[in-house]
Amino acid sequence: MTALKPGLRLKSGVCSAEVMIVKGAGETSLTCGGVPMLGADESADGAAAVAAEMNGCLVGKRYVNEDQSLEVLCIKPGEGSLAADGAPLTVKQAKKLPSSD
């Protein structure tokens, strides 16, 4: 469990992925490849990735839980897929907007 707050950066314990919390607060178990994600000064404990949760995450995509109370930005890509409290996060679909600046 990690106390989430916007701006917090977490890294995967099983691949190169990193995320930044955009929205969401409180104690949440955020995992990548089925293994809890780590703070900047934590190191991986050698837990093995869950094969079914290695579908990748893409840099620049925003991932949300079902009720969109949690939103994370993938800031470095990796092979693991993201989940919160056991439920997979999905890519937040954004309307394509013309550039206005």
């Binding site: 800031i75 954004a94 013309p98 550039s99």
Partner: protein, 497 residues
């Protein structure tokens, strides 16, 4: 959150691209990241609480913006066109300040109270490039990202505050990471102390669109850069577009502007006549109108390219009228029109524009203007049509109150601009014994054309209620605008005093 993240992501993913072209030199995002990291170290070491750029835009602009973010202190760019005493008064509100300025301003202000460190833009950039930090670290959420002094057209400048969360919400909600094609280049000609100058840097860096800077706008210089740098998009304020249109219509020399695919405009009221001429001059260019305020982290509504084309081609009056609107709200932004008592108004009814969303700050150094439910009163007047297109009617402070009736200057100006002899017009309140206030208009005529005051009064009478007919008409050579295209109504009012 920290906006420095945007640059780091671009630096890692944007290998092989340039992020910035300034004064003929190209910079990769990784180079800007390392330079900002180097700058952040020196800002931190100075102990200063603010970073200001007091200069035209250059490569020092993004380095200062992101360097301040990495150092965790607010970036507070200043208007270099202000008189020295006004600049000094603003510096006193930024204690203690890390000042980056052009040579003259650096010399003039290095001894001002509040200055912690002062260097020229060239010195700042040179040191940042010479002592880079390619792996900078920064605080996760340092709070305030940007402090901007509003232009103060209605009073002393207010210090508007934008937090990292507001700017990040705006960028993440409206820009797709690395979405620019490899050939894309955007021309940034708004000054660095304008919110559009800041959002342009953040948006284009995140989209991996090369930024081409124009330090000092003129229509010929703008057109030269479009041609010379194969520019594909640009943001302009209305006065800039008007000058570009005039320059092209005057037909000075042949130009190849075929690379240009998109023009976004905003930052002030765009006369429909200008946008119609621009659409004719650039038939293949996508036009986007953006409306936003400093306090809303830039754009909150958009009139997109398809809207422009539909409006131009339509015979339906309502659809056609959208060309004069600022479009619909961004997906993450809510808009409500309220009357003077704070009650929400129905479509078609004119009132004050309220806005809510994660990018909306509405906060000033002294106080927050946001209500308990998160709504920010913009002090702009407007109405929403049945499909949610927002039509602006000027600033609440500019509304003319004639015998208890509220009159928006924009209504009258739009009618005057349909007269073939009129190129520009402004309606302001003038003192009236009978009504308290009445309508006065200042009108600029096309050179060589003529129109009488009677003819203009008749035109307004034929299109609007009789209360809108100007009591005073004054013909002038030009209307007073500030450098970012804001009409200075206070100055016009004085003409009628």
């Amino acid at each position: 959150m920290n906006t420095a993240m945007l640059l780091q992501m671009a630096a890692e993913a944007g290998v092989g691209r340039f992020a910035l072209t300034s004064a003929g030199r190209h910079y990769a995002a990784a180079e800007l990241l390392a330079a900002a990291g180097g700058a952040a170290e020196r800002i931190r070491a100075s102990g200063c609480q603010f970073v200001s750029l007091l200069d035209v835009s250059s490569a020092a602009t993004p380095v200062a913006l992101f360097g301040a973010a990495m150092a965790g202190v607010p970036y507070a760019p200043l208007n270099y066109r202000l008189p020295a005493d006004q600049i000094r008064a603003l510096i006193a509100r930024l204690d203690s300040l890390y000042l980056i300025a052009d040579e003259d301003n650096c010399a003039a202000h290095r001894g001002d109270p509040g200055i912690g460190a002062a260097l020229t833009s060239a010195q700042f950039l040179e040191a940042a490039l010479a002592h880079p930090d390619p792996e900078p670290v920064w605080p996760d959420d340092p709070g305030i990202a940007v402090q901007l002094f509003t232009s103060g057209t209605t009073g002393p400048p207010k210090a508007a505050i934008l937090r990292h969360e507001h700017l990040m919400s705006y960028i993440l909600g409206s820009v797709e990471f690395m979405s620019a094609a490899e050939d894309e280049a955007t021309l940034v000609s708004v000054p660095p102390y304008h919110i559009a100058g800041i959002s342009a840097l953040l948006s284009s860096i995140y989209a991996a669109r090369r930024i081409v800077q124009l330090a000092d706008f003129s229509a010929p210089a703008w057109l030269d850069l479009v041609e010379g740098e194969a520019v594909t998009s640009a943001f302009v304020v209305p006065t800039m577009l008007a000058r570009i249109v005039e320059e092209l219509e005057a037909g000075s020399g042949s130009r190849d502007l075929r690379t240009l695919r998109a023009i976004a405009y905003g930052g002030g009221h765009m006369p429909v006549s200008i946008i119609e001429r621009a659409l004719e001059l650039f038939p293949t260019v996508d036009f986007t109108n953006a409306y936003g305020l400093t306090e809303t982290s830039s754009t909150i509504t958009l009139l997109g390219p398809e809207d422009h084309r539909q409006a131009m081609a339509s015979d339906d009056e309502e659809t056609r009228r959208r060309l004069g609107s600022v479009g619909q709200a961004l997906p993450s932004v809510e808009i409500e029109i309220r009357d003077a008592g704070g009650e929400a108004l129905a479509p078609g009814q004119r009132g004050e524009i309220y806005v809510r969303g994660p990018q909306v700050s509405g906060e000033y150094r002294e106080r927050s203007a946001v209500d308990a439910d998160g709504w920010f009163p913009t002090r702009d007047i407007g109405y929403l049509d049945a499909d949610g297109y927002l039509h602006l009617g000027g600033r609440a402070d500019d509304v003319i109150v004639r015998g208890g009736e509220n009159i928006s200057p924009a209504e009258i100006e739009e009618v005057l601009l349909t007269h073939p002899a009129v190129v520009d017009a402004a309606a302001v309140a003038v003192a009236s014994e009978q009504w308290g206030e009445a309508v006065g208009v200042a009108v600029v005529l096309k050179s060589g054309a003529s129109a009488s005051a009677d003819a203009l009064q008749d035109l307004v009478r034929s299109r609007l209620r009789s209360s809108r007919v100007p009591e005073a008409v004054r013909f002038v050579d030009e209307l007073p605008y500030n450098e970012t295209g804001k009409l200075l109504r206070r100055d016009i009012k004085r003409w009628f005093a």
